[in-house]
């Protein structure tokens, strides 16, 4: 189950963050997302150390914790997408397609002429479509 998704702007400013758990652990999830930003920076600045293909948007597994796995995705426009899941058996292709849909939803949201670039995404349509995408992915 995906427990948290986040969109972070190119100056590491949060654009959208949403957790999908019943329990009251939003703060913990935000903390995990926050930590992953450093991992993304490291991946992007030292591409040789990590095994991922050069310059691909999908960054793969950023780091596993005891209960969660954190995946990242970095667009050409330096916008970061982060996803936290509790599933342990996850196939990369599924995560890739999840991020592709997530990215498409984001693009639709920022193409709204009333959206101010660099500001938080407040669109209800975006929140709905993200919720639908998250619900449609249970990796196990």
């Amino acid at each position: 189950m995906i427990v948290c998704v986040a969109v972070v702007g190119h100056q590491n400013n949060p654009l959208y963050i949403q957790s999908f758990t019943e329990a009251d652990d939003a703060l913990k999830l935000h903390h995990i997302v926050h930590c992953s930003l450093d991992v993304i920076d490291e991946r992007v600045n030292n591409p040789k150390k990590s095994g991922t293909t050069l310059n691909e948007a999908f960054l793969g597994l950023l780091y596993p914790t005891l209960n969660y796995k954190v995946y990242g995705y970095l667009t050409n426009t330096k916008v970061k997408f982060i996803m936290v899941t509790t599933d342990l058996d996850v196939r990369d292709t599924d995560v890739r397609s999840f991020f592709r849909k997530f990215h498409a939803a984001y693009v639709d949201a920022v193409s709204n002429p009333f959206h101010v670039p660099g500001k938080k995404i407040t669109s209800r349509t975006f929140a709905e479509s993200v919720t639908n995408i998250v619900r449609s992915y249970t990796f196990n």
């Binding site: 293909t53 310059n55 948007a57 050409n76 426009t77 330096k78 498409a104 984001y106 920022v110 193409s111």
Partner: protein, 174 residues
């Protein structure tokens, strides 16, 4: 599903936008009108770049981003590629389009007042060139919007040598 817009609508909108800004809102301040039109283009470019760079790997240097504009972006927006790309490898790029779509239906009145025999002062022609240049602030803004969203701050200007050939000069800020 891809939603499409008739080309004539885009042409009309561009014409009307220039007419509104340079003829009504800022009738006596062409620089201000130009800046406003450029700002609209910037926002459009900003949003388009987000969409058109979706399925591709990240660009590793400036030249790759410029090539993206010349090939993929230009064919998405204008259904053709840039005809000629020149660079001095120090941050200046010149993109030449031999038949720029938004100028393909623009013509300069071929019979300006011929009584002034002096070839140096051709007020009719320079006025016409200035009028045409108003139409180029919007595409300049689009290019600047795309590049700055890709993390390349720059200044873009346009030159018209002979219609409908048009070249865009991109100066990347260090």
């Amino acid at each position: 599903m891809v939603r499409e817009v008739a080309e004539s609508c885009v042409d009309t909108m561009l014409m009307e936008m220039v007419a509104m800004y340079s003829g009504r809102f800022y009738a006596n301040k062409p620089e201000l009108a130009a800046r406003r039109i450029e700002a609209i283009g910037y926002q459009v470019g900003h949003q388009l770049s987000e969409r058109y760079t979706m399925e591709r790997p990240r660009f590793s240097d400036h030249l790759e981003a410029i090539k993206f504009i010349c090939k993929d972006f230009w064919s998405e927006v204008f259904k053709k590629q840039i005809d000629n790309l020149k660079t001095n490898h120090r941050g200046t790029f010149v993109l030449q389009d031999n038949k720029f779509r938004w100028l393909s239906r623009v013509s300069i009145d071929p019979s300006p007042e011929k009584e002034t025999e002096d070839p140096l002062s051709t007020p009719g022609e320079s006025k016409a060139a200035q009028a045409v240049s108003m139409y180029l602030y919007f595409p300049c803004g689009i290019i600047r919007g795309v590049l700055s969203n890709l993390g390349i701050p720059c200044a873009v200007s346009a030159d018209i040598s002979s219609l409908p050939t048009c070249s865009f000069v991109i100066r990347v800020k260090a």
